[in-house]
C-alpha cells in the first residue's frame, strides 16, 4: 500500500574507494523515484566503492519503479565491475524485482525511434508519394474496370444507392451552394464595377461576370464544395466500413468492393456535380444581377441580355464537361482514400482529410489542363 508522504532515506556507511554499504529505508515509489535514483547514481560516482552492498531492511514500500531504481544501481555497479549485493531482501521485494526486465537499462537499448537524417527523411517523403501514386493508379484501374462492367451490365448497378447519393451530394447541397454562388457573384460584380464604372463600362460587368462564372468559378466552386461535403463523407463512410471489417466481409461474400461501394458514388457524383454546376452558374449570375440593378443603373432585362450575348454554348458545355471530370476525380479519390484507411478512429479522420485535400489538388490540376486544352480547341 502506498504511503502518502512518500519519504525515504539513504544512509551511507564506508569510505571512498573501499567497501560501501547503503542502508535504504522508507518508501521508494513512482512519485518520488527520480530523487533516490539520482542520489544512488551520485553515491556510486563519488565513492567508486571496491564493493557495494545495499541493505533493504528499512524499506517500507517498494513499487516497480522503486525496484527499477535498485536494479538500475545494480546494473551500473556491474557495468563498472564493482562487486554488488543486496542484503535483507524480503520475499515481496524479491518478487517485485523478479518482474523487471534489465535490458531496459542498457545504453544501446533500441526501443525508441532512432533519429534519421534530413536526406533519409526526404527520401522517405518521396517514397511515400511514389507509393501513394502507385496505389491511386491501381485503384483507377480497378474503378475503370468496375465502371466498364457496370455499363455493360446496368442491372448490376445499385441504383437505389446511386439515387441516395445523388440526393446527398446534390439536392442536400443546393441551399449552401446557392448561397455561396450568389455571394461570390455579388462580390465579383461589385469589385469589378468599381473599376469599370470609371470608364463608363458598367454594362461589361455582366459580360465579365458571366464569362468568369460559367467558364471557371461555377465548376470550381461547385467542385470544391462537393469535395468538402461529399468527398469527406464518402471517405469516412468507406473508412468506417474498413475499420469494422465490412469491406473484408464483402470480399469473402464474393462482392467486388469497388463495384459494390465506389461505382454508385461515382455515378451519383457524375450526375449531381454537372447539375449543381449549372445551378451555381445561375446563382452567381443572379448575384451580379442584384449589383447591376441596384448599383449600376442597369435594368434586369439589359443585364440578362448582355449576359446571354457574352456566353456561348461552348462555354456552358465546357463547364459541364469540366464538372463531370471533377465529379469523377472527387468521388474516385475519396473512395480510394476510404479504401486505404488504416485501423482505428483516427485513421478514418485522416482518410476524410486526405480525401478533401487530394480532391482539391486534383481539381486545380485538372482545371489548369482544361484551361490549356480549351484555349487550343476554341
Amino acid at each position: 500500500m502506498k504511503h502518502p508522504d512518500q519519504d525515504y532515506t539513504i544512509r551511507t556507511e564506508g569510505e571512498k574507494g573501499r567497501d560501501v554499504t547503503l542502508h535504504l529505508s522508507g518508501h521508494l515509489v513512482t512519485e518520488n523515484i527520480d530523487r533516490p535514483m539520482s542520489e544512488l547514481q551520485s553515491i556510486l560516482d563519488d565513492y567508486t566503492p571496491s564493493q557495494l552492498t545495499i541493505d533493504l531492511s528499512g524499506i517500507d514500500t517498494l513499487d516497480s519503479a522503486g525496484a527499477m531504481a535498485l536494479a538500475k544501481t545494480e546494473y551500473d555497479a556491474n557495468a563498472g565491475s564493482i562487486p554488488f549485493k543486496f542484503v535483507n531482501v524480503t520475499p515481496r521485494i524479491k518478487n517485485t524485482m523478479d518482474l523487471l526486465n534489465r535490458e531496459a537499462f542498457a545504453e544501446d537499448y533500441t526501443g525508441r525511434d532512432r533519429d534519421t537524417g534530413i536526406l533519409e527523411r526526404m527520401a522517405n517523403v518521396f517514397l511515400d508519394i511514389y507509393n501513394d501514386f502507385i496505389r491511386v493508379m491501381i485503384f483507377v484501374g480497378e474503378l475503370l474496370s468496375a465502371m466498364v462492367y457496370s455499363i455493360r451490365h446496368p442491372l448490376s448497378i445499385r441504383w437505389t444507392d446511386s439515387l441516395l447519393y445523388i440526393k446527398r451530394a446534390g439536392v442536400d447541397g443546393l441551399p449552401i451552394l446557392g448561397l455561396i454562388s450568389f455571394l461570390i457573384g455579388l462580390i465579383i460584380a461589385f469589385m469589378s464595377s468599381l473599376q469599370l464604372k470609371q470608364f463608363g463600362a458598367n454594362i461589361y460587368v455582366a459580360s465579365f461576370l458571366a464569362i468568369a462564372v460559367v467558364r471557371e468559378l461555377g465548376p470550381i466552386m461547385t467542385a470544391i464544395l462537393v469535395a468538402g461535403r461529399s468527398g469527406s463523407a464518402f471517405a469516412a463512410e468507406i473508412g468506417t466500413m474498413k475499420v469494422n471489417e465490412e469491406i473484408d466481409a464483402l470480399v469473402v461474400m464474393g462482392f467486388d468492393p469497388v463495384r459494390f461501394i465506389a461505382v454508385p458514388k461515382v455515378l451519383a457524383a457524375m450526375v449531381a456535380v454537372p447539375l449543381l454546376t449549372l445551378y451555381a452558374d445561375l446563382f452567381g449570375i443572379l448575384g451580379g444581377l442584384v449589383v447591376g440593378v441596384t448599383g449600376l443603373d442597369l435594368t434586369a432585362y439589359t443585364y440578362i441580355q448582355q449576359t446571354i450575348k457574352s456566353i456561348t454554348v461552348f462555354d456552358i458545355i465546357s463547364g459541364i464537361v469540366k464538372a463531370v471530370v471533377f465529379a469523377v476525380l472527387i468521388s474516385g479519390i475519396s473512395c480510394q482514400r476510404g479504401f486505404e484507411t488504416g485501423e482505428g478512429a483516427e485513421a478514418v479522420g485522416i482518410s476524410a482529410t486526405s480525401a478533401v485535400v487530394s480532391s482539391i489538388f486534383l481539381i486545380i490540376v485538372a482545371d489548369s489542363i482544361f484551361a490549356i486544352v480549351i484555349h487550343y480547341i476554341r
Binding site: M1, K2, V29, T30, E31, I33, D34, M37, D63, S64, A65, M68, K72, R92, N95, T96, D98, L99, L100, N101, R102, E103, A104, F105, Y109, T110, G111, R112, D113, G342, E343, G344, A345, E346, A347
Partner: protein
Amino acid sequence: MTPVVTVENLAARYGENIVFEDVSFDIFEGEIFAIVGGNGCGKTTIFKCMTGLLKPSGGRVLVRGIDPATENEEKLKTLRKETGVLFQSGALFGSMTLYDNMALVLKEYTTLPSPVIDMIIRTKLGMVRLAGCENLLPSELSGGMKKRAGIARAMVMDPVVLFLDEPSAGLDPITSEEFDILVKNINTGMGTTMIIITHQLESIFNIAHRVIMLDKDAKGIIAEGDPRELRKHSKDPRVMAFFGGGIPRHLTEHEQPEAN
C-alpha cells in the same frame, strides 16, 4: 483486514429494467477477485460502478475509502492515481505509440524528468514482455500484445487496485494462459489487488482467490467464495452449471450423453 473495495447494497437499473439490487461484498488487499456470471447479469455494470464510469441507482462503492460516484475532483484524482483499469479491447489510444500511451499518465500525475519516465516505461513494457515495442502504434499489435500493452498502461503508476474487464476475451488458450501467469506474477510481485470481470473458467480457477457469481434472474449474487470450493460443493444448479463448464455437473460426472 481492511477491505480495499467495499460494495454496499449496490443497485443499478436502466430505465425500468433492474439489472441488480442489494449487492454487497468486500475485496481485500492483495486479493485476485473475480466477478462472474452469464450474459446480462450486470458484471460490466458493477465494473462501471466500481470504476466511477456509472453512478449506481442505489447503494455505494468505496474504493480505498473513496466513493467514485460522489467524491470531489481532488479525491477522485487521488483515486485515479491509485487504480488502474484494463478495458476489454485494451482501449489504447490509436493515434499514440505505446510509449506516448504510457507517458501520458506519468506526465499527468508526476513531475518526473523525461529520462526517468523513459526508464519506467521501458521497465513496464519489459514486465509484460513488450520490450522494444515503445514506438509501435496499437494497430501494429496483435490481440494478445494489445492486452499486455493495456495492462502495462494500467500499471504505469503502480496502482494499488487494478480492474480488468474480460482480460482473456478473444485470446487463444495459450496466450490466455500466458496472460493469467502475468496477472498472477504482478499480484504476487507487487501485491496489487485485482478485480477481474470474466467468463473464462480456466482463468478463474487458475488465478482467482475468491469469486462472486451474479445471476440475471436473481438480480444479485447467488454464490461467493473460493471458485474451486464452489465447483466441488455448491448445490445451486445455476452455480453447478456455470462451474461445470455450462453442463450440469451430474451430466459431466456420471451421465454424459454418448456421442453420435
